[in-house]
């Protein structure tokens, strides 16, 4: 931390929007209070959750969370540091801008019965009915964006998205 020019305070020079958003991979203890502790901390510190996904990790009694958090007016590194203070949190990895596999799942129902445009992008048809077609898609950020644009052209009835889950490419 030596020798680099520092803004003296975070308040004096608010970080740009894209710098404020961090993608964190968080290993946590399973427990009735874990999720509320994490979400409570994020609220209390003035951060904002963009997306959150939780699932079991290979280690028993522990879950892996992928959090996308806007640090608000704080230094973006505060999100990681504050999470690390929680006893329920075992490990926090800030993977923002890192070389990761990032995937988000989208399940959508559209009015159209012809969904070739969606299938061309990689979507799979789950169900076809008289009132519409249900498809699933998974991909990384930009692909999901393209898919959502294409979805709009098919008359969206409803969409469910998982938020991204990430894994480093190299261990």
């Amino acid at each position: 931390m030596i020798g680099t020019p520092h803004p003296k305070t975070s308040a004096a020079t608010p970080p740009r929007h894209e710098e404020r958003v961090r993608v964190l991979s968080v290993l946590v203890e399973d427990g009735s209070n874990t999720l509320s502790k994490i979400s409570g901390l994020i609220r209390r510190r003035g951060f904002h959750v963009r997306s959150i996904s939780v699932g079991p990790s290979p280690q028993p009694g522990r879950s892996r969370m992928t959090l996308t958090v806007d640090a608000g007016h704080a230094e973006s590194d505060q999100v990681r540091k504050q999470l690390e203070r929680l006893v329920e949190v075992i490990e926090v990895e800030d993977v923002t801008g890192e070389d990761v596999h990032s995937r988000e799942l989208v399940v959508a129902k559209v009015k159209a019965s012809q969904v070739g445009g969606l299938v061309d992008l990689g979507a799979k048809v789950l169900n076809t009915a008289s009132d519409g077609t249900t498809v699933e898609f998974s991909g990384e950020g930009k692909d999901v964006g393209d898919f959502i644009d294409e979805l709009m052209r098919h008359g969206v009835v409803d969409v469910a998205r998982s938020g991204p889950v990430v894994l480093r490419r190299t261990a």
């Binding site: 931390m1 030596i2 520092h6 305070t9 203890e29 009735s32 209070n33 690390e84 006893v87 329920e88």
Partner: protein, 555 residues
């Protein structure tokens, strides 16, 4: 089982209040005479007593409360301890595990209500968890950056029997109190400070919590660097020392603020650098080229001020690591220290004492002459707090106890009671305004019941003085809801609670009243009727920079 575990953790005092959901614990309390239970009059009082106890003797304070309102009454006290990093264990009763979530009588989500004001918390729904949880709780509360830990125990668990299992080791993978220590830059930090033209060290509560005052003294003398303290850092460096800058912050001394605002290297040790220290953040220490921050909690780095050099470690380890690297002190140091002396002459602490009213500073100066450094002074919050912080030559740790971060009115009396239990060998003085005092005055019963030798000094101006001062100066001069004209006659109140009290209206009466207080073994109350217009100075107007401090007007 709970009580045995507490004995094993070395607990001596418990401050508590029984109720429906912790009756099983209380049923077995008489079987454990080594655990001395202090029955409080309100649960908030229990939390502040445990807090004062912990701050005075260093051991974690222990609190019992029942479910629902009992536990929720602890919240302010937990927050007070959390903000000031005080080790505490709160054990609350919860409804039966089978009733949780059914809105049972006196059920409340205590974990949810206290999560943001505790270092950690546990809901115990099975007896198997209990030994591990209690052992972990004490470990977490007392290590690293200390703090309160709450254990919410369902009533059926309190009644359950199990074989006594002492956990032989702790496994808390998410808790590494010293896991992030980084002293890599100790050498650079020491050299940056010693080689600076205009260095300043600010010391916070972390110096006291890690017992680093000797190391701070050595380091400061070797580097010939002036030292100021935060409000909670009071006692970390002797106020009478030539290098002392006394208290910093928006009600700090003029020479301290001048030094901070002109410093080129600022080392902040064991402190959070909060808004009361920085005033307007953008103008804080504007001439500093190198900020050095030392704290055990890595999340403090850059939370408010981004340091150029950071040392994540407890203050003692960090200062020990830095001292050998101090090396040669900058040749211009004599000039800088002479400049600070000049500021000290130019901006002394002063107060009005010619308008015929009793001045609060007169009371405190008389107290100081009697106690010197032998007493523990517990101050409340408001004007009384800043007067007590500034008008006393604190020269060692453990002499000043106060709610700094949370600023909890009503803290002083119960905290003084707790401090006396923690340090029965020390004289304990409680200083409060009339506003804060009436918030927790019911705890006088505890002082009388245990014949605690504490002296209660009420600086009574019949007004919420700090709020009044702010309204006068920063809110258009509109005095709104600050008159405390309807408060009890404190001498009669003392009599009703069963302790002696005296009222003092003038400077001439101060000495005799203090004599009477000192001669009395047991609690004693003095109602000092002070100048209703007395103000705190210096003060930085709200929203302004530290440069803009106002001094006491000359009269």
């Amino acid at each position: 089982m709970i009580l045995e575990a507490l004995e094993r953790e070395g607990v001596e005092y418990i401050f508590g209040y029984p109720g429906g959901a912790n009756l099983p614990i209380y049923q077995h309390l008489p079987e454990h005479p080594r655990l001395k239970h202090i029955l409080v009059r309100h649960e908030q009082g229990a939390a502040h007593m445990a807090d004062g106890y912990a701050r005075a003797c260093g051991k974690p304070g222990v609190v019992f409360a029942t479910s629902g309102p009992g536990a929720l009454n602890l919240v302010t006290g937990l927050c007070t301890a959390y903000m000031d990093s005080v080790p505490m264990i709160a054990i609350t009763g919860q409804v039966n595990s089978t009733q949780v979530g059914r809105d049972a009588f006196q059920e409340s989500d205590v974990i949810g209500a206290t999560s943001s004001v505790t270092k950690h918390s546990y809901l115990v729904t099975s007896i198997d968890q209990l030994p591990r949880v209690i052992h972990e709780a004490f470990h977490i509360a007392t290590t690293g950056r200390p703090g309160p830990v709450l254990i919410d125990i369902c009533k059926d668990v309190q009644q359950a029997n199990a074989e006594r299992v002492t956990p032989d080791r702790l496994e808390i993978p998410g808790y590494q109190p010293n896991g992030h220590v980084n002293l890599e830059h100790a050498h650079e930090a020491a050299r940056a400070l010693a080689g600076a033209e205009r260095p300043v060290i600010l010391a916070g509560h972390g110096v006291l919590l890690s017992h680093a005052e000797r190391e701070l003294f050595k380091f400061a003398e070797k580097a010939a660097a002036p030292v100021g303290t935060t409000l909670l850092g009071i006692g970390a460096f002797p106020v009478n020392h030539p290098l002392s800058l006394h208290m910093t912050g928006f009600m700090g001394t003029g020479w301290n603020l001048k030094a901070v605002q002109n410093a080129d290297v600022l080392m902040m040790v064991g402190m959070r650098v909060d808004d009361r220290v920085t005033a307007r953040l953008a103008d804080f220490a504007p001439n500093v080229k190198t900020f050095i921050h030392v704290d055990i909690d890595g999340s403090e780095m850059g939370k408010n001020v981004r340091p150029h050099i950071e040392l994540v470690a407890d203050a003692r380890n960090a200062l020990e690591a830095m001292t050998p690297h101090v090396g040669e002190v900058d040749a211009g140091r004599g000039q800088w220290l002479a400049q600070i002396d000049a500021w000290r002459e130019e901006h002394p602490l002063k107060y009005t004492h010619s308008n015929g009213h009793l001045q609060p500073q007169d009371v405190l100066i008389d107290m100081y002459r009697r106690c010197r450094s032998e007493a523990i002074v517990v101050a409340d919050v408001g004007q009384n707090q800043i007067w007590t912080a500034l008008w006393w030559n604190y020269d060692r740790p453990g002499t000043f106890i106060n709610s700094g971060g949370a600023g909890t009115m009503g803290f002083a009396l119960p905290a003084a009671i707790g401090a006396k239990f923690g340090r029965p060998d020390k004289a304990v003085w409680c200083v409060a305004g009339e506003g804060g005092f009436v918030m927790t005055a019911q705890e006088l019963s505890v002082a009388v019941e245990h014949n605690l030798d504490i002296k209660i000094v009420i600086l009574n101006n019949f007004s919420l003085g700090m709020v009044r001062q702010f309204q006068d100066d920063f809110y258009g001069g509109v005095r709104s809801q600050v008159d405390m004209t309807h408060i009890p006659d404190f001498v009669k109140l003392a009599d009703a609670y069963g302790l002696p009290g005296i009222r003092v209206d003038s400077l001439e009466q101060v000495g005799a009243a203090m004599d009477a207080a000192e001669k009395t073994k047991g609690p004693f109350l003095i109602d000092f009727r002070i100048d209703p217009e007395a103000n705190v100075y210096p003060i930085v107007p709200l929203g302004k920079s530290l440069n803009d401090f106002w001094e006491a007007p000359d009269k």
